[in-house]
Symmetry: C2
Subunit: 320 residues, 2 copies
């Protein structure tokens, strides 16, 4: 039996809305924002071969498509409320859609976010999710708030997603267990939604790491009109990445991409508060450097000497 567009939506993508006034099924979804809240909105589009490999299990793809969007809300300190899903597929492969929906709903349920609408169509595989969150007016974390003297922090560990990609490309060889571990980092990123909200009154700026540490840090520095010193030895990483040769380690840590960790700044006096936010949300937080008055990014090696980072730019989807 062929499954049509309306069956597809009814079977896999319709559930009663929890917070929305009206969910899937009309021309628009309806939301009633809470008084005094600003809405935070972000869209991400995922294309096969660019944002995921054909080898990704559908369940993980469903998770990741929502996760990368929730990560943008996390970077603003917003609480997720609702999302729309637009999905283009060559045909309705039931096993694919079933798995995709399962992964997506598991994360949506865990985060208490409603699927309120969207679109499905035939075409090359493409997933576009738009998330809507809320944050008390004036309290959103922005890229523009970093000050000289602030400390620079990052959540989780960096570089494993990139290492997995290098393994898929046969640029590195990993054992089964290490490969499974870094592959999970690439395919199942955990959006730092709770940490982002816990940092609202603490952090001075934040961004989510999607294009690589140095590239994303550059956005913060540019917006804030400051520079940064990053201590290479402090960058949090897995044992798997630690076992790699230095050049690969540096590439993955500094220009990895797909980390979906939060990079944020906070005053030195807020150090204890940052650590408490990490503990309260069960999220590792690591101080990796400091904000300085000017001069772009300086990465200091284990001897405190500047490392040449000219090779590590921001990831560009039309150039990479």
């Amino acid at each position: 039996m062929s499954v049509g567009e309306f069956d597809l939506i009814a079977r896999w993508f319709t559930r009663p809305a929890r917070r929305a006034v009206l969910g899937v099924g009309d021309d628009c979804a309806l939301l009633l924002p809470a008084p005094g809240m600003q809405l935070a909105i972000s869209s991400d589009m995922l294309v096969e071969g660019r944002h995921f490999l054909p080898t990704v299990p559908p369940e993980r793809l469903g998770h990741k498509a929502l996760a990368v969007n929730l990560s943008d809300l996390a970077a603003c300190g917003a609480r997720p409320v609702a999302f729309t899903l637009a999905l283009s597929m060559p045909r309705v492969d039931e096993a694919f859609v079933e798995g995709f929906a399962r992964g997506m709903w598991a994360l949506a349920d865990a985060q208490g976010v409603d699927l309120v609408g969207g679109d499905t169509t035939a075409g090359p595989l493409n997933i576009c999710i738009t998330v809507i969150g809320e944050v008390p007016a004036g309290q959103a974390l922005l890229r523009s708030g970093a000050h000289s003297g602030d400390e620079l922090w990052v959540s989780g560990a960096l570089g494993d997603a990139r290492l997995a990609l290098e393994a898929f490309r046969n640029h590195v060889t990993l054992g089964a267990e290490p490969f499974a571990q870094v592959r999970a980092a690439m395919e199942c990123p955990q959006p730092r939604v709770a940490l982002g909200q816990a940092l609202r009154d603490i952090a001075t700026s934040a961004i989510d790491l999607s294009d690589g540490l140095l590239g994303d840090l550059a956005h913060v520095l540019e917006r804030s009109g400051v520079g940064a010193d990053v201590e290479l030895a402090r960058l949090p990483h897995s044992e798997v990445l630690a076992a790699q040769p230095e050049a690969m380690r540096h590439e993955c840590l500094l220009a990895g991409g797909d980390d979906y960790e939060l990079l944020f700044t906070a005053p030195a006096a807020a150090q204890d508060a940052v650590r408490a936010a990490g503990r309260a949300t069960a999220t590792r937080v690591t101080k990796i450097g400091r904000i300085v008055e000017r001069g772009g990014v300086t990465v200091l090696d284990t001897h405190g000497r500047p490392l040449d980072c000219s090779a590590y730019g921001a990831f560009d989807h039309f150039r990479s």
Copy 2:
């Protein structure tokens, strides 16, 4: 010079926000909803070959991509506030992007709606827009409000977009001037945003016609638990369509698709108010039938006899 992702966004897709607190350039956009307003949200994804032909001028494609989304807001009686644009393209073709942006901005400016964020990536051409509008709480027009005894109305004229598609497919032959006219209907639909808002206190239900009159009407009837009689002779159409053979005329009028007109119901007593809303918004409105207690849709021919419409289903992107 190759144009990268960040140049692309900066050059063509960044402008100061008018109504948004924060527009393009951070992890999320920020909006502060007006008190007492509900948000209306809709996403549409456009794929080449499905929603537009390779022959479409980029400027018209930019217009249409936003127009079909605004049409969903119109059907809810919502006022457009903001939208996100996610764009996947094989490469950055400057002439294409420049034209696309021009068409999109012209409509955005005319409707006073902010582009607040989005995504660009390399991949098969795909355009996904999510629009956000606002409507006073409880006043949104829904598909579910039609009552037996209501009259059935439609805006504009039907079927020209479908006739243009048939001409592109060489199923019909049109002269240059008639072809240009129906092609404009297909490529440059005018979202009935002003009419939708004017109908808020008048209409009992509304939907935008994207998949064909009978298919979309069926959604309203199903949601409202009613039936409808439609008078074929009343369906508004252009002179170009009038000159077509009967079978083609019926196909285009009843199952055309891509009309982006509003189909709505209103109590018989509201007839003058509907006409006044049409005049106030310079939009043609035509009474095409009435809502009855049950029985799906009956289309009555010029002799008042039921027409066999079994061939005209709702357009399904995975079956058509």
